[in-house]
Protein backbone atom coordinates (compact mmCIF):
# COMPACT_ATOMS: atom_id res chain seq x y z
CA UNK A 1 0.00 0.00 0.00
CA UNK A 2 1.43 3.38 -0.98
CA UNK A 3 1.57 6.24 1.56
CA UNK A 4 -0.99 8.20 -0.46
CA UNK A 5 -3.43 5.29 -0.51
CA UNK A 6 -2.91 4.75 3.21
CA UNK A 7 -3.73 8.41 3.96
CA UNK A 8 -6.83 8.28 1.73
CA UNK A 9 -8.06 5.09 3.39
CA UNK A 10 -7.43 6.49 6.86
CA UNK A 11 -9.49 9.57 5.99
CA UNK A 12 -12.39 7.45 4.70
CA UNK A 13 -12.51 5.05 7.64
CA UNK A 14 -11.88 7.92 10.08
CA UNK A 15 -14.94 9.71 8.68
CA UNK A 16 -16.99 6.52 9.07
CA UNK A 17 -15.79 6.10 12.68
CA UNK A 18 -16.70 9.71 13.50
CA UNK A 19 -20.20 9.33 12.08
CA UNK A 20 -20.63 6.15 14.11
CA UNK A 21 -19.50 7.93 17.29
CA UNK A 22 -22.05 10.68 16.60
CA UNK A 23 -24.77 8.07 16.20
CA UNK A 24 -23.76 6.40 19.46
CA UNK A 25 -23.85 9.79 21.18
CA UNK A 26 -27.37 10.36 19.84
CA UNK A 27 -28.50 7.05 21.38
CA UNK A 28 -28.27 8.42 24.90
CA UNK A 29 -30.45 5.77 26.52
CA UNK A 30 -28.16 2.96 25.32
CA UNK A 31 -25.13 4.82 26.60
CA UNK A 32 -26.81 5.58 29.94
CA UNK A 33 -27.82 1.91 30.27
CA UNK A 34 -24.24 0.75 29.78
CA UNK A 35 -22.94 3.33 32.29
CA UNK A 36 -25.54 2.25 34.83
CA UNK A 37 -24.69 -1.41 34.28
CA UNK A 38 -20.97 -0.68 34.78
CA UNK A 39 -21.77 1.18 38.01
CA UNK A 40 -23.94 -1.66 39.34
CA UNK A 41 -21.36 -4.34 38.47
CA UNK A 42 -18.52 -2.45 40.14
CA UNK A 43 -20.72 -1.78 43.17
CA UNK A 44 -21.80 -5.43 43.59
CA UNK A 45 -18.35 -6.94 43.16
CA UNK A 46 -16.79 -4.30 45.40
CA UNK A 47 -19.15 -5.54 48.12
CA UNK A 48 -18.13 -9.12 47.34
CA UNK A 49 -14.46 -8.22 47.68
CA UNK A 50 -15.15 -6.43 50.95
CA UNK A 51 -16.91 -9.50 52.35
CA UNK A 52 -14.28 -11.96 51.11
CA UNK A 53 -11.26 -9.96 52.23
CA UNK A 54 -12.70 -8.13 55.24
CA UNK A 55 -9.82 -6.60 57.11
CA UNK A 56 -7.65 -9.65 56.43
CA UNK A 57 -4.37 -9.98 54.59
CA UNK A 58 -3.86 -8.93 50.98
CA UNK A 59 -5.04 -11.58 48.52
CA UNK A 60 -2.24 -10.67 46.12
CA UNK A 61 1.05 -9.17 47.27
CA UNK A 62 0.76 -5.41 46.81
CA UNK A 63 -2.98 -5.53 46.07
CA UNK A 64 -5.58 -5.03 48.74
CA UNK A 65 -9.31 -4.51 48.56
CA UNK A 66 -8.92 -1.03 47.08
CA UNK A 67 -6.67 -2.21 44.23
CA UNK A 68 -8.97 -5.14 43.45
CA UNK A 69 -11.96 -2.79 43.13
CA UNK A 70 -10.00 -0.62 40.70
CA UNK A 71 -8.89 -3.79 38.82
CA UNK A 72 -12.54 -4.69 38.36
CA UNK A 73 -13.41 -1.17 37.20
CA UNK A 74 -10.67 -1.31 34.53
CA UNK A 75 -11.56 -4.79 33.20
CA UNK A 76 -15.29 -3.99 33.05
CA UNK A 77 -14.50 -0.66 31.36
CA UNK A 78 -12.54 -2.48 28.61
CA UNK A 79 -15.26 -5.08 28.01
CA UNK A 80 -18.39 -2.93 28.26
CA UNK A 81 -16.96 -0.41 25.78
CA UNK A 82 -17.06 -2.99 22.98
CA UNK A 83 -20.26 -2.94 20.87
CA UNK A 84 -21.90 -6.10 19.54
CA UNK A 85 -20.32 -5.87 16.09
CA UNK A 86 -21.01 -9.54 15.39
CA UNK A 87 -24.77 -8.86 15.48
CA UNK A 88 -24.47 -6.09 12.88
CA UNK A 89 -22.52 -8.35 10.50
CA UNK A 90 -24.89 -11.26 11.10
CA UNK A 91 -27.90 -9.02 10.37
CA UNK A 92 -26.34 -7.82 7.09
CA UNK A 93 -25.62 -11.40 6.00
CA UNK A 94 -29.08 -12.68 6.97
CA UNK A 95 -31.01 -9.82 5.37
CA UNK A 96 -28.85 -9.47 2.26
CA UNK A 97 -28.15 -5.81 3.11
CA UNK A 98 -24.49 -6.67 2.65
CA UNK A 99 -25.13 -6.18 -1.09
CA UNK A 100 -25.73 -2.44 -0.56
CA UNK A 101 -22.49 -2.09 1.37
CA UNK A 102 -20.42 -3.84 -1.30
CA UNK A 103 -21.16 -1.32 -4.06
CA UNK A 104 -19.09 1.35 -2.32
CA UNK A 105 -15.34 1.84 -2.85
CA UNK A 106 -14.53 0.72 0.68
CA UNK A 107 -14.01 -2.66 2.30
CA UNK A 108 -17.16 -4.02 3.94
CA UNK A 109 -15.20 -5.40 6.86
CA UNK A 110 -13.15 -2.20 7.17
CA UNK A 111 -16.35 -0.16 7.29
CA UNK A 112 -17.87 -2.38 9.96
CA UNK A 113 -14.73 -2.25 12.09
CA UNK A 114 -14.44 1.55 11.67
CA UNK A 115 -18.07 1.95 12.77
CA UNK A 116 -17.48 -0.30 15.78
CA UNK A 117 -14.27 1.55 16.71
CA UNK A 118 -16.07 4.90 16.54
CA UNK A 119 -18.67 3.62 18.95
CA UNK A 120 -16.00 2.00 21.14
CA UNK A 121 -14.10 5.29 21.37
CA UNK A 122 -17.17 7.14 22.57
CA UNK A 123 -18.01 4.43 25.11
CA UNK A 124 -14.47 4.47 26.45
CA UNK A 125 -14.79 8.22 26.99
CA UNK A 126 -18.15 7.93 28.76
CA UNK A 127 -17.64 4.70 30.72
CA UNK A 128 -14.13 5.61 31.87
CA UNK A 129 -15.18 8.44 34.19
CA UNK A 130 -18.28 6.47 35.26
CA UNK A 131 -16.26 3.42 36.30
CA UNK A 132 -13.62 5.61 37.92
CA UNK A 133 -16.22 7.52 39.95
CA UNK A 134 -17.90 4.34 41.24
CA UNK A 135 -14.55 2.69 41.98
CA UNK A 136 -13.33 5.82 43.80
CA UNK A 137 -16.50 5.85 45.87
CA UNK A 138 -16.49 2.12 46.66
CA UNK A 139 -12.74 1.88 47.31
CA UNK A 140 -12.60 5.09 49.30
CA UNK A 141 -9.92 6.57 47.04
CA UNK A 142 -7.36 5.79 44.35
CA UNK A 143 -5.05 2.74 44.50
CA UNK A 144 -1.96 3.16 46.66
CA UNK A 145 0.12 3.99 43.56
CA UNK A 146 -2.36 5.64 41.14
CA UNK A 147 0.25 6.21 38.41
CA UNK A 148 -0.50 2.67 37.15
CA UNK A 149 -3.98 3.85 36.14
CA UNK A 150 -2.37 6.20 33.60
CA UNK A 151 -0.82 3.15 31.94
CA UNK A 152 -4.18 1.35 32.06
CA UNK A 153 -5.79 4.01 29.84
CA UNK A 154 -3.92 3.35 26.56
CA UNK A 155 -3.73 -0.39 27.27
CA UNK A 156 -7.49 -0.54 27.92
CA UNK A 157 -8.20 1.33 24.69
CA UNK A 158 -5.95 -1.05 22.72
CA UNK A 159 -7.53 -4.05 24.47
CA UNK A 160 -10.95 -2.85 23.29
CA UNK A 161 -9.64 -2.66 19.72
CA UNK A 162 -8.52 -6.29 20.02
CA UNK A 163 -11.96 -7.23 21.33
CA UNK A 164 -13.59 -5.42 18.38
CA UNK A 165 -11.42 -7.40 15.94
CA UNK A 166 -12.39 -10.63 17.71
CA UNK A 167 -16.11 -9.85 17.47
CA UNK A 168 -15.66 -9.00 13.77
CA UNK A 169 -14.29 -12.52 13.26
CA UNK A 170 -17.30 -13.92 15.15
CA UNK A 171 -19.60 -11.88 12.89
CA UNK A 172 -17.97 -13.27 9.75
CA UNK A 173 -18.78 -16.79 10.95
CA UNK A 174 -22.37 -15.91 9.91
CA UNK A 175 -21.34 -16.83 6.35
CA UNK A 176 -21.03 -20.45 7.51
CA UNK A 177 -23.35 -20.89 10.47
CA UNK A 178 -25.84 -17.97 10.09
CA UNK A 179 -26.56 -17.72 13.84
CA UNK A 180 -23.40 -16.39 15.49
CA UNK A 181 -24.68 -16.16 19.07
CA UNK A 182 -23.33 -19.61 20.13
CA UNK A 183 -19.83 -18.61 18.96
CA UNK A 184 -20.12 -15.27 20.75
CA UNK A 185 -21.36 -17.01 23.89
CA UNK A 186 -18.29 -19.29 23.95
CA UNK A 187 -15.95 -16.35 23.23
CA UNK A 188 -17.54 -14.26 25.98
CA UNK A 189 -17.20 -17.03 28.58
CA UNK A 190 -13.56 -17.57 27.62
CA UNK A 191 -12.94 -13.83 28.01
CA UNK A 192 -14.60 -13.87 31.43
CA UNK A 193 -12.65 -16.88 32.69
CA UNK A 194 -9.29 -16.84 30.90
CA UNK A 195 -9.16 -13.04 30.65
CA UNK A 196 -9.59 -12.57 34.37
CA UNK A 197 -12.63 -10.32 34.27
CA UNK A 198 -13.52 -10.66 37.94
CA UNK A 199 -10.43 -12.33 39.45
CA UNK A 200 -6.83 -11.43 38.60
CA UNK A 201 -4.84 -14.33 37.14
CA UNK A 202 -2.57 -14.22 40.21
CA UNK A 203 -5.38 -15.96 42.11
CA UNK A 204 -5.71 -18.78 39.55
CA UNK A 205 -4.08 -22.21 40.02
CA UNK A 206 -0.80 -22.49 38.10
CA UNK A 207 -2.14 -24.79 35.38
CA UNK A 208 -5.08 -22.48 34.62
CA UNK A 209 -2.91 -19.39 34.61
CA UNK A 210 -0.47 -21.07 32.20
CA UNK A 211 -3.36 -22.10 29.97
CA UNK A 212 -4.83 -18.58 30.04
CA UNK A 213 -1.49 -16.95 29.16
CA UNK A 214 -1.43 -18.98 25.93
CA UNK A 215 -4.62 -17.23 24.80
CA UNK A 216 -5.26 -13.58 23.78
CA UNK A 217 -7.77 -13.04 26.58
CA UNK A 218 -5.42 -11.97 29.45
CA UNK A 219 -4.00 -9.22 27.21
CA UNK A 220 -7.55 -7.91 26.79
CA UNK A 221 -8.47 -7.68 30.49
CA UNK A 222 -5.88 -8.84 33.01
CA UNK A 223 -3.05 -6.89 31.33
CA UNK A 224 -4.71 -3.45 31.59
CA UNK A 225 -6.46 -4.37 34.88
CA UNK A 226 -3.31 -5.24 36.79
CA UNK A 227 -2.03 -1.71 36.23
CA UNK A 228 -4.31 -0.89 39.20
CA UNK A 229 -1.89 -2.83 41.43
CA UNK A 230 0.88 -0.29 40.94
CA UNK A 231 3.11 1.50 38.46
CA UNK A 232 4.76 -1.27 36.43
CA UNK A 233 6.17 -0.04 33.08
CA UNK A 234 7.78 -3.44 32.30
CA UNK A 235 4.48 -5.27 32.76
CA UNK A 236 2.74 -2.60 30.69
CA UNK A 237 5.28 -3.07 27.90
CA UNK A 238 4.70 -6.84 27.95
CA UNK A 239 0.94 -6.30 27.73
CA UNK A 240 1.41 -3.79 24.90
CA UNK A 241 3.54 -6.26 22.91
CA UNK A 242 1.02 -9.04 23.56
CA UNK A 243 -1.83 -6.82 22.37
CA UNK A 244 0.07 -5.88 19.20
CA UNK A 245 1.05 -9.50 18.49
CA UNK A 246 -2.48 -10.80 18.99
CA UNK A 247 -3.82 -7.86 16.99
CA UNK A 248 -1.64 -8.82 14.02
CA UNK A 249 -2.63 -12.48 14.43
CA UNK A 250 -6.35 -11.76 14.57
CA UNK A 251 -5.98 -9.25 11.71
CA UNK A 252 -4.40 -11.90 9.49
CA UNK A 253 -7.14 -14.33 10.48
CA UNK A 254 -9.79 -11.72 9.65
CA UNK A 255 -8.30 -11.10 6.20
CA UNK A 256 -8.43 -14.84 5.47
CA UNK A 257 -11.96 -15.16 6.84
CA UNK A 258 -13.09 -12.16 4.81
CA UNK A 259 -11.70 -13.64 1.56
CA UNK A 260 -13.32 -17.01 2.27
CA UNK A 261 -16.62 -15.30 3.14
CA UNK A 262 -16.65 -13.36 -0.16
CA UNK A 263 -16.27 -16.63 -2.03
CA UNK A 264 -19.32 -18.00 -0.19
CA UNK A 265 -21.40 -14.89 -0.67
CA UNK A 266 -24.92 -15.43 -1.86
CA UNK A 267 -27.39 -12.64 -1.31
CA UNK A 268 -30.86 -13.16 0.09
CA UNK A 269 -33.52 -12.25 -2.45
CA UNK A 270 -31.41 -12.82 -5.55
Amino acid sequence: MTADRFVRSTRKYGAIALVSARRALAERSVLAGRALFLGVIVFIFSRVWETVLGQGPQAIPGAGKRELIWYLAVTEWCLLSVPHLFLAIEADVRSGDIACRLVRPVSYLGTQIAEALGETGLRLLVLGPTGAAVAFWMAGGFPEDPRGLLLALPLGALASVLAVLSTAAIGLSAFWIVDTSPVYWIWQKLVFVLGGLLLPLELYPDWLRTLARCSPFPAMLWGPGRMAFGFAPEAALVTLLELLAWGVGIGVGLAWLSRSARARLTVSGG
Binding site: I16, V19, R23, L102, V103, R104, G269
Partner: protein, 333 residues
Protein backbone atom coordinates in the same frame (compact mmCIF):
# COMPACT_ATOMS: atom_id res chain seq x y z
CA UNK B 1 -17.46 2.83 -29.15
CA UNK B 2 -16.78 0.11 -26.56
CA UNK B 3 -19.90 -1.17 -24.78
CA UNK B 4 -20.53 0.07 -21.24
CA UNK B 5 -21.63 -3.43 -20.25
CA UNK B 6 -20.71 -6.65 -21.99
CA UNK B 7 -21.66 -10.19 -20.97
CA UNK B 8 -20.64 -13.34 -22.78
CA UNK B 9 -22.04 -16.72 -21.81
CA UNK B 10 -22.48 -15.67 -18.19
CA UNK B 11 -23.40 -18.48 -15.82
CA UNK B 12 -24.02 -18.35 -12.08
CA UNK B 13 -24.91 -21.32 -9.94
CA UNK B 14 -25.53 -21.61 -6.21
CA UNK B 15 -25.43 -24.68 -4.00
CA UNK B 16 -28.43 -24.87 -1.71
CA UNK B 17 -28.85 -27.24 1.20
CA UNK B 18 -31.85 -29.54 1.04
CA UNK B 19 -33.44 -30.69 4.27
CA UNK B 20 -35.82 -33.63 4.49
CA UNK B 21 -39.14 -33.08 6.27
CA UNK B 22 -39.89 -34.24 9.80
CA UNK B 23 -37.82 -35.09 12.86
CA UNK B 24 -36.10 -38.05 11.19
CA UNK B 25 -35.06 -35.81 8.31
CA UNK B 26 -33.69 -33.20 10.69
CA UNK B 27 -31.71 -35.82 12.58
CA UNK B 28 -30.35 -37.29 9.33
CA UNK B 29 -29.33 -33.78 8.23
CA UNK B 30 -27.02 -33.60 11.26
CA UNK B 31 -24.85 -36.31 9.71
CA UNK B 32 -25.57 -36.24 5.99
CA UNK B 33 -25.76 -32.89 4.21
CA UNK B 34 -27.57 -32.97 0.89
CA UNK B 35 -27.02 -30.08 -1.47
CA UNK B 36 -28.46 -29.23 -4.85
CA UNK B 37 -27.12 -26.94 -7.54
CA UNK B 38 -29.42 -24.12 -8.58
CA UNK B 39 -28.75 -22.33 -11.86
CA UNK B 40 -29.56 -18.63 -11.39
CA UNK B 41 -28.09 -17.35 -14.67
CA UNK B 42 -27.48 -19.60 -17.65
CA UNK B 43 -25.48 -18.70 -20.76
CA UNK B 44 -26.50 -15.04 -20.72
CA UNK B 45 -24.99 -12.73 -23.34
CA UNK B 46 -25.75 -9.10 -24.19
CA UNK B 47 -24.07 -5.74 -24.60
CA UNK B 48 -25.25 -2.26 -23.62
CA UNK B 49 -23.86 0.89 -25.23
CA UNK B 50 -22.86 3.94 -23.15
CA UNK B 51 -25.86 6.16 -22.40
CA UNK B 52 -28.46 3.49 -23.16
CA UNK B 53 -31.40 3.10 -20.75
CA UNK B 54 -32.25 -0.57 -20.60
CA UNK B 55 -34.94 -2.46 -18.68
CA UNK B 56 -34.01 -5.91 -17.48
CA UNK B 57 -37.26 -7.68 -16.77
CA UNK B 58 -38.57 -11.11 -15.92
CA UNK B 59 -40.62 -12.94 -13.30
CA UNK B 60 -39.45 -13.70 -9.75
CA UNK B 61 -36.37 -15.93 -9.70
CA UNK B 62 -35.52 -15.18 -13.33
CA UNK B 63 -31.96 -14.14 -12.42
CA UNK B 64 -32.27 -10.34 -12.77
CA UNK B 65 -30.93 -9.34 -9.37
CA UNK B 66 -28.19 -11.97 -9.51
CA UNK B 67 -27.01 -10.56 -12.85
CA UNK B 68 -27.05 -7.02 -11.46
CA UNK B 69 -25.01 -8.14 -8.46
CA UNK B 70 -22.47 -9.81 -10.75
CA UNK B 71 -22.26 -6.64 -12.86
CA UNK B 72 -21.64 -4.50 -9.78
CA UNK B 73 -18.95 -6.87 -8.46
CA UNK B 74 -20.92 -8.15 -5.47
CA UNK B 75 -21.14 -11.73 -6.72
CA UNK B 76 -18.57 -13.71 -8.68
CA UNK B 77 -19.73 -15.44 -11.87
CA UNK B 78 -19.39 -19.22 -12.08
CA UNK B 79 -18.43 -19.01 -15.76
CA UNK B 80 -18.44 -16.59 -18.67
CA UNK B 81 -16.95 -13.20 -19.39
CA UNK B 82 -18.15 -9.93 -17.82
CA UNK B 83 -16.85 -6.45 -18.62
CA UNK B 84 -18.28 -3.27 -17.12
CA UNK B 85 -16.64 -0.02 -18.30
CA UNK B 86 -13.74 -2.19 -19.43
CA UNK B 87 -13.24 -3.65 -15.93
CA UNK B 88 -13.83 -7.14 -14.58
CA UNK B 89 -16.30 -6.49 -11.72
CA UNK B 90 -15.45 -9.56 -9.60
CA UNK B 91 -11.73 -8.76 -9.55
CA UNK B 92 -11.84 -4.96 -9.71
CA UNK B 93 -14.83 -4.21 -7.49
CA UNK B 94 -13.33 -1.20 -5.71
CA UNK B 95 -12.09 0.50 -8.91
CA UNK B 96 -15.46 -0.10 -10.53
CA UNK B 97 -17.34 1.19 -7.47
CA UNK B 98 -16.05 4.74 -8.14
CA UNK B 99 -17.71 4.66 -11.59
CA UNK B 100 -21.07 3.02 -10.90
CA UNK B 101 -24.07 3.75 -8.73
CA UNK B 102 -26.65 1.29 -7.47
CA UNK B 103 -30.05 1.49 -5.84
CA UNK B 104 -31.72 -1.58 -4.41
CA UNK B 105 -35.38 -0.75 -3.86
CA UNK B 106 -35.86 -3.15 -0.97
CA UNK B 107 -32.67 -2.19 0.84
CA UNK B 108 -31.23 1.10 1.98
CA UNK B 109 -27.73 2.43 1.48
CA UNK B 110 -28.44 5.39 3.76
CA UNK B 111 -27.57 5.33 7.46
CA UNK B 112 -31.08 5.10 8.93
CA UNK B 113 -30.27 6.93 12.16
CA UNK B 114 -28.65 9.90 10.38
CA UNK B 115 -30.16 12.68 8.28
CA UNK B 116 -29.66 11.99 4.57
CA UNK B 117 -27.47 15.13 4.38
CA UNK B 118 -24.95 13.44 6.71
CA UNK B 119 -24.91 10.32 4.56
CA UNK B 120 -24.24 12.51 1.50
CA UNK B 121 -21.28 14.14 3.31
CA UNK B 122 -19.94 10.72 4.29
CA UNK B 123 -20.34 9.39 0.75
CA UNK B 124 -18.40 12.43 -0.52
CA UNK B 125 -15.51 11.28 1.70
CA UNK B 126 -15.89 7.65 0.64
CA UNK B 127 -15.93 8.55 -3.08
CA UNK B 128 -13.13 11.10 -2.49
CA UNK B 129 -15.05 13.96 -4.11
CA UNK B 130 -13.47 17.39 -4.30
CA UNK B 131 -15.39 19.47 -1.67
CA UNK B 132 -16.49 22.40 -3.87
CA UNK B 133 -17.52 20.11 -6.74
CA UNK B 134 -19.37 17.85 -4.24
CA UNK B 135 -21.34 20.79 -2.81
CA UNK B 136 -22.33 21.97 -6.30
CA UNK B 137 -23.45 18.48 -7.30
CA UNK B 138 -25.32 17.87 -4.03
CA UNK B 139 -27.17 21.18 -4.24
CA UNK B 140 -28.11 20.51 -7.86
CA UNK B 141 -29.44 17.03 -7.06
CA UNK B 142 -31.24 18.14 -3.89
CA UNK B 143 -33.02 20.83 -5.91
CA UNK B 144 -33.74 18.51 -8.82
CA UNK B 145 -35.16 15.74 -6.58
CA UNK B 146 -36.98 18.30 -4.37
CA UNK B 147 -35.69 16.92 -1.08
CA UNK B 148 -34.47 20.16 0.53
CA UNK B 149 -37.22 19.87 3.15
CA UNK B 150 -36.33 16.33 4.18
CA UNK B 151 -32.53 15.99 4.02
CA UNK B 152 -32.07 17.18 7.59
CA UNK B 153 -34.53 14.63 9.03
CA UNK B 154 -33.25 11.21 10.20
CA UNK B 155 -33.81 8.76 7.36
CA UNK B 156 -35.91 6.44 9.52
CA UNK B 157 -38.53 9.23 9.80
CA UNK B 158 -38.92 9.63 6.02
CA UNK B 159 -41.75 8.21 3.93
CA UNK B 160 -40.79 5.50 1.44
CA UNK B 161 -41.07 7.95 -1.47
CA UNK B 162 -38.87 10.53 0.26
CA UNK B 163 -36.35 7.88 1.20
CA UNK B 164 -36.18 6.57 -2.35
CA UNK B 165 -35.49 10.08 -3.70
CA UNK B 166 -32.68 10.40 -1.13
CA UNK B 167 -31.35 6.96 -2.15
CA UNK B 168 -31.21 8.08 -5.77
CA UNK B 169 -29.39 11.30 -4.87
CA UNK B 170 -26.90 9.26 -2.81
CA UNK B 171 -26.25 7.00 -5.79
CA UNK B 172 -25.75 9.92 -8.20
CA UNK B 173 -23.46 12.16 -6.10
CA UNK B 174 -20.25 10.81 -7.63
CA UNK B 175 -21.54 11.12 -11.23
CA UNK B 176 -21.63 7.40 -11.98
CA UNK B 177 -21.24 6.33 -15.60
CA UNK B 178 -23.64 3.45 -15.01
CA UNK B 179 -26.64 3.34 -12.68
CA UNK B 180 -27.96 -0.07 -11.62
CA UNK B 181 -31.54 0.13 -10.35
CA UNK B 182 -33.10 -2.93 -8.74
CA UNK B 183 -36.86 -2.41 -8.31
CA UNK B 184 -36.54 1.34 -7.63
CA UNK B 185 -40.29 1.92 -7.34
CA UNK B 186 -41.28 -1.14 -5.32
CA UNK B 187 -43.82 -0.34 -2.63
CA UNK B 188 -44.37 3.26 -3.78
CA UNK B 189 -47.79 4.78 -4.43
CA UNK B 190 -48.84 5.89 -7.92
CA UNK B 191 -47.75 9.52 -7.47
CA UNK B 192 -44.36 8.64 -5.97
CA UNK B 193 -43.76 6.10 -8.77
CA UNK B 194 -44.48 8.70 -11.43
CA UNK B 195 -42.14 11.20 -9.72
CA UNK B 196 -39.28 8.71 -9.48
CA UNK B 197 -39.71 7.68 -13.13
CA UNK B 198 -39.68 11.30 -14.32
CA UNK B 199 -36.57 12.02 -12.26
CA UNK B 200 -34.74 8.96 -13.55
CA UNK B 201 -35.52 9.80 -17.17
CA UNK B 202 -34.43 13.38 -16.63
CA UNK B 203 -31.18 12.52 -14.85
CA UNK B 204 -30.36 9.88 -17.46
CA UNK B 205 -30.72 12.56 -20.12
CA UNK B 206 -28.80 15.25 -18.19
CA UNK B 207 -25.91 13.09 -16.96
CA UNK B 208 -25.80 10.80 -19.99
CA UNK B 209 -25.33 7.80 -17.72
CA UNK B 210 -26.18 4.27 -18.74
CA UNK B 211 -29.15 2.87 -16.83
CA UNK B 212 -29.88 -0.81 -16.27
CA UNK B 213 -33.18 -1.19 -14.45
CA UNK B 214 -34.91 -4.30 -13.15
CA UNK B 215 -38.58 -4.09 -12.28
CA UNK B 216 -41.80 -6.03 -12.09
CA UNK B 217 -43.67 -2.90 -13.04
CA UNK B 218 -44.08 -2.43 -16.77
CA UNK B 219 -44.67 1.28 -16.08
CA UNK B 220 -41.03 1.63 -14.96
CA UNK B 221 -39.63 0.26 -18.18
CA UNK B 222 -42.12 2.18 -20.34
CA UNK B 223 -41.31 5.49 -18.62
CA UNK B 224 -37.56 5.22 -18.21
CA UNK B 225 -36.13 2.84 -20.79
CA UNK B 226 -35.71 2.62 -24.53
CA UNK B 227 -34.69 -1.01 -24.76
CA UNK B 228 -35.91 -4.14 -22.98
CA UNK B 229 -34.12 -7.37 -22.14
CA UNK B 230 -36.45 -10.15 -20.98
CA UNK B 231 -34.92 -12.95 -18.93
CA UNK B 232 -36.58 -16.18 -17.83
CA UNK B 233 -35.01 -19.10 -15.95
CA UNK B 234 -31.66 -17.28 -16.19
CA UNK B 235 -31.73 -17.15 -20.00
CA UNK B 236 -32.22 -14.20 -22.31
CA UNK B 237 -35.61 -14.54 -23.92
CA UNK B 238 -35.93 -11.31 -25.80
CA UNK B 239 -33.87 -8.22 -26.64
CA UNK B 240 -35.98 -5.52 -28.31
CA UNK B 241 -36.53 -1.80 -28.40
CA UNK B 242 -39.38 -0.70 -26.18
CA UNK B 243 -41.40 0.40 -29.21
CA UNK B 244 -41.20 -3.11 -30.68
CA UNK B 245 -42.09 -4.72 -27.37
CA UNK B 246 -45.04 -2.37 -26.89
CA UNK B 247 -46.40 -3.20 -30.34
CA UNK B 248 -45.98 -6.92 -29.83
CA UNK B 249 -46.74 -7.60 -26.19
CA UNK B 250 -48.16 -4.62 -24.32
CA UNK B 251 -51.18 -4.36 -26.57
CA UNK B 252 -53.62 -4.76 -23.69
CA UNK B 253 -54.70 -2.77 -20.66
CA UNK B 254 -56.70 -3.76 -17.63
CA UNK B 255 -59.61 -1.68 -16.44
CA UNK B 256 -60.99 -2.21 -12.90
CA UNK B 257 -64.32 -0.57 -12.13
CA UNK B 258 -66.29 -0.37 -8.88
CA UNK B 259 -69.93 0.56 -9.51
CA UNK B 260 -73.12 1.05 -7.52
CA UNK B 261 -74.70 -1.50 -9.82
CA UNK B 262 -74.07 -5.12 -8.86
CA UNK B 263 -73.06 -6.02 -12.39
CA UNK B 264 -71.63 -3.91 -15.19
CA UNK B 265 -72.24 -4.87 -18.81
CA UNK B 266 -69.84 -3.53 -21.45
CA UNK B 267 -70.52 -4.83 -24.93
CA UNK B 268 -67.75 -3.34 -27.01
CA UNK B 269 -65.46 -4.98 -29.56
CA UNK B 270 -61.98 -5.69 -28.11
CA UNK B 271 -63.21 -5.68 -24.51
CA UNK B 272 -63.15 -8.96 -22.62
CA UNK B 273 -64.66 -9.47 -19.19
CA UNK B 274 -62.28 -11.13 -16.71
CA UNK B 275 -63.40 -13.00 -13.55
CA UNK B 276 -65.11 -10.30 -11.46
CA UNK B 277 -66.98 -9.87 -8.16
CA UNK B 278 -70.30 -8.18 -7.43
CA UNK B 279 -69.98 -4.37 -7.78
CA UNK B 280 -66.41 -4.88 -9.06
CA UNK B 281 -65.74 -5.56 -12.76
CA UNK B 282 -62.41 -6.42 -14.34
CA UNK B 283 -62.02 -5.81 -18.08
CA UNK B 284 -59.21 -6.50 -20.54
CA UNK B 285 -58.98 -3.99 -23.38
CA UNK B 286 -57.30 -4.90 -26.67
CA UNK B 287 -55.64 -1.63 -27.71
CA UNK B 288 -55.37 -2.77 -31.34
CA UNK B 289 -59.18 -2.83 -31.49
CA UNK B 290 -60.32 -0.01 -29.22
CA UNK B 291 -58.81 2.83 -27.20
CA UNK B 292 -59.04 2.92 -23.40
CA UNK B 293 -60.66 6.37 -23.56
CA UNK B 294 -63.63 4.98 -25.50
CA UNK B 295 -64.04 2.10 -23.05
CA UNK B 296 -63.94 4.44 -20.02
CA UNK B 297 -66.44 6.79 -21.70
CA UNK B 298 -68.82 3.88 -22.31
CA UNK B 299 -68.52 2.71 -18.68
CA UNK B 300 -69.15 6.17 -17.23
CA UNK B 301 -72.14 6.66 -19.52
CA UNK B 302 -73.77 3.38 -18.54
CA UNK B 303 -73.17 3.08 -14.78
CA UNK B 304 -72.63 5.02 -11.56
CA UNK B 305 -68.86 4.63 -11.14
CA UNK B 306 -67.39 4.72 -7.61
CA UNK B 307 -63.83 3.92 -8.58
CA UNK B 308 -61.93 3.21 -11.77
CA UNK B 309 -58.33 2.31 -12.54
CA UNK B 310 -56.42 1.50 -15.73
CA UNK B 311 -53.33 -0.70 -15.43
CA UNK B 312 -50.83 -2.54 -17.57
CA UNK B 313 -51.00 -6.31 -17.50
CA UNK B 314 -48.70 -7.83 -14.83
CA UNK B 315 -45.13 -8.55 -15.88
CA UNK B 316 -45.71 -12.28 -15.37
CA UNK B 317 -48.38 -12.22 -18.09
CA UNK B 318 -46.18 -10.30 -20.50
CA UNK B 319 -43.29 -12.68 -19.90
CA UNK B 320 -45.62 -15.65 -20.33
CA UNK B 321 -46.79 -14.20 -23.65
CA UNK B 322 -43.20 -13.60 -24.74
CA UNK B 323 -42.22 -17.08 -23.57
CA UNK B 324 -45.10 -18.65 -25.49
CA UNK B 325 -44.11 -16.62 -28.57
CA UNK B 326 -40.48 -17.69 -28.27
CA UNK B 327 -41.46 -21.32 -27.81
CA UNK B 328 -43.65 -21.12 -30.96
CA UNK B 329 -40.79 -19.61 -32.99
CA UNK B 330 -38.44 -22.34 -31.77
CA UNK B 331 -40.93 -25.07 -32.69
CA UNK B 332 -41.49 -23.48 -36.14
CA UNK B 333 -37.74 -23.39 -36.72
Amino acid sequence: MAPAIELENLRKTFRVTERAHGLAGSLRALFVRRTREVVAVDDLSFAIAPGERVAFVGPNGAGKSTTLKILSGILQPTAGRVRVLGLEPGRERTRLAYRIGAVFGQRSQLWSHLPAADTFDLLARIYELEPAEYRRRRDDLVASFEIAQVVEKPVRQLSLGERMRCELVASLLHRPEILFLDEPTIGLDVVAKATIRDLLRERGRLDGCTILLTSHDTGDMESVCERVLVIHHGRLLLDRSLATLRRGFIAKKRVSVVTEEVELRVDLPGVRRLPSASHRTELEVDLDVIGVDRVVAAIVAGARVLDLSVEDPPMEEIVSAIYAGAARSVSRA
